[in-house]
């Protein structure tokens, strides 16, 4: 789990079984130096990522006196928190799938356009716009959709005046799950575009030409050449999108001010409410639950990656 233990375990044993081994001590030294090259990075990660995580995990398993306890974890198995987990997972699943498919299509369209016409401007503008929306957005995306489909949003007013259509006839959906899905797609699609574009660019024109000169159709190309090559990148990107959506806080925090339908908002509620000190442990437990869900997704990603990289060799 921790890179340090790996380093410590590997450092003493010389890894290279080079046949003309001059000095055993030199091989050991060289191996140690090799590992030392990677040390600054792993040390940095240990301080700013693993340490805070350990604090949260240990907080989830201890009571307010610092003794071992499962009370915090049993406290979040109630319907209120479990429903929040269910809604978070559903939201992440839907927006990851929508975002992955539409974002990959956009990446294909832009990549192919740049290739055939040298249309670098379109590509750069779409990349810049996607970067902005995918990771710059946060709080501001919530305001964007309030201005679009909020109670006084532009689209709301246009539809009402032109067709007599009331967007809010079915209730205040924008501030609940349907609204979150709509707004989350607004950063999921651009994120997929950015993450997937390098893979799309990896497709060589020659492969398509070879396929065509051997009598293959577009279907053959995508089914037997581009599809298998892109599949690991696509699946990996989709899992990234799931994790991104599941972890998102800012957009939901700005859009939903009451009700707290998803887990990050439940955590906000626990951390910012001044009800009792015992609630803090529940916050740790909820955070730990989020880590577990995404860890499961990322394990699937690792398994998938191992399988597909074997196929690619």
């Amino acid at each position: 789990m921790t890179p340090e233990t790996d380093l410590a375990a590997e450092a003493p044993t010389p890894t290279a079984p080079a046949p003309p081994r001059p000095h055993r001590s030199r091989a050991v030294l060289r191996c140690a130096l090799d590992h030392a090259g990677a040390l600054p990075f792993f040390a940095f990660i240990a301080v700013f990522l693993l340490w805070p995580t350990l604090i949260v995990v240990s907080g989830a398993f201890t009571d307010s006196n610092g003794a071992f306890s499962l009370d915090n974890l049993t406290a979040i198995t109630g319907p209120r928190f479990m429903d929040a987990f269910g809604r978070s997972i559903w939201l992440s699943l839907v927006t990851a799938l929508l975002g992955a498919v539409l974002g990959a299509l956009l990446a294909w369209a832009v990549s192919a356009a740049g290739r055939s016409g040298g249309d670098g401007v379109t590509r750069r503008l779409v990349t810049a716009l996607s970067s902005v929306l995918a990771q710059f957005g946060g709080v501001m995306l919530a305001f964007a959709f309030l201005a679009t489909v909020g109670l006084n949003g532009w689209l709301t007013i246009m539809l009402r005046d032109a067709f007599g259509l009331d967007l809010f006839a079915g209730g205040n959906w924008l501030y609940d799950m349907p609204g979150l899905i709509l707004v989350y797609c607004y950063f999921q699609i651009p994120l997929m575009f950015i993450v997937f574009l390098p893979a799309m660019d990896g497709l060589r024109v020659q492969w398509g030409e070879a396929n065509a000169s051997l009598g293959g159709t577009g279907w053959h190309y995508w089914r037997h050449i581009a599809g298998p090559i892109l599949a690991p990148a696509f699946a990996g990107s989709a899992l990234l999108l799931f994790a991104n959506s599941f972890s998102s806080y800012a957009t939901a925090a700005a859009l939903v001010s009451q009700g707290d339908p998803i887990v990050p908002l439940q955590i906000r509620n626990v951390l910012t409410s001044e009800v009792s000190l015992g609630q803090e442990g529940v916050g740790y437990a909820l955070a730990f639950g989020m880590v577990v869900v995404v860890a499961v997704v990322m394990s699937l990603y690792a398994l998938l990656q191992r399988r597909t990289s074997r196929w690619l060799r």
């Binding site: 890179p3 090799d34 090259g37 990677a38 990075f41 940095f44 700013f48 990522l49 805070p52 350990l54 907080g59 956009l106 294909w108 369209a109 832009v110 192919a112 356009a113 055939s116 379109t122 990349t127 810049a128 716009l129 970067s131 929306l133 990771q135 710059f136 946060g138 709080v139 501001m140 995306l141 964007a144 309030l146 201005a147 679009t148 607004y186 699609i189 950015i194 993450v195 390098p198 990896g202 396929n211 065509a212 293959g216 159709t217 577009g218 990996g236 990234l240 994790a243 972890s247 806080y249 800012a250 925090a253 700005a254 955590i267 955070a287 880590v291 995404v294 990322m298 990603y301 690792a302």
Partner: protein
């Protein structure tokens, strides 16, 4: 564009390849660009409409109020410096490590990828809870400054910058290039700066772009550690005034867009000069 579709449909299946590759995808490509582009651009137009809506007709009042907000201007400056520090830290820490691991420690490659993707399994709202004791130390050692946020931001941008850099490093024959350079007497730093960097320029640029955007948009950690960054300011303004908050949001989004478009054009110009 529209004319191509019927022509493409008229092509019989037995000999499809040439024309289909020339015509069909072009129409479909533009259709995709148009539909997805409309979804991405419409809310931005709506923000413009919303923020200029007056009692009668159009008004620029909300926009004029932006420049008068001194705290907002300060927060923007803090966020810009944070973004620059984070990109610098990320590149210095991550790129040499990735090259080093690929060439000298291939067994650690999976560990490195795992570690780089870890921040995704540990959401920002989780990190921030465990971060306060560590930031007490950082503040003690470096002095209390919002720029300290760059340290944890380097961690936050890792998954995305790793994926971008990894895609670039995969597309070149790093081992052969590095061995060629080393056998000609180049140092390791020379390999990284003069061989690897020029070959993965696009990947570095895309890693930097996504890092800048992520830092400028970061809200969770900054707000919960009580630092006044751009997003925290925008959120606070949102509580007071709807039209002002929408105007600030659109201005910030456009600002980010211009910045990222400029960055990418600078990268392109340098690339073409080196290529010729």
């Amino acid at each position: 564009m529209a004319a191509l579709t019927p022509a493409e449909a008229a092509v019989p299946d037995p000999r499809p390849s040439r024309r289909r590759r020339a015509g069909g995808p072009a129409a479909l490509r533009w259709a995709v660009l148009f539909v997805v582009g409309a979804y991405l651009l419409f809310p931005l137009l709506a923000m413009l409409e919303f923020s200029t809506r007056g009692a009668q007709g159009r008004t620029a009042d909300a926009w004029l109020a932006i420049g008068q907000d001194r705290a907002l201007v300060d927060a923007i400056w803090v966020s810009l410096r944070l973004a620059a520090l984070t990109v610098f830290g990320m590149l210095v820490l991550l790129l040499p490590t990735m090259v080093w691991v690929q060439l000298r420690l291939p067994r650690l490659r999976r560990v490195l990828e795992f570690v780089c993707l870890l921040p995704l399994t540990i959401p920002a709202i989780v990190i921030v809870v465990g971060l306060s004791p560590i930031y007490a130390w950082v503040g003690y050692l470096l002095g209390d400054s919002p720029l300290n946020l760059a340290l944890v931001y380097v961690v936050l941008v890792l998954p995305y910058s790793y994926r971008a850099l990894d895609a670039g490093l995969r597309s070149i024959d790093l081992k052969t290039l590095a061995e060629a350079a080393l056998s000609l007497g180049a140092s390791w730093w020379s390999v990284i700066l003069r061989v690897v960097v020029p070959n993965v320029r696009a990947a570095i640029l895309s890693a930097a772009l996504i890092s800048v955007a992520l830092v400028l948009g970061e809200f969770t950690i900054a707000s919960l550690l009580n630092y006044d960054t751009l997003q925290v300011r925008v959120f606070e303004i949102g509580k007071r005034s709807a039209s002002l908050s929408v105007a600030v949001s659109l201005a910030a989004l456009m600002f980010g867009f211009v910045l990222l478009a400029l960055l990418s054009f600078v990268g392109q110009r340098r690339g073409s000069r080196q290529g010729s």
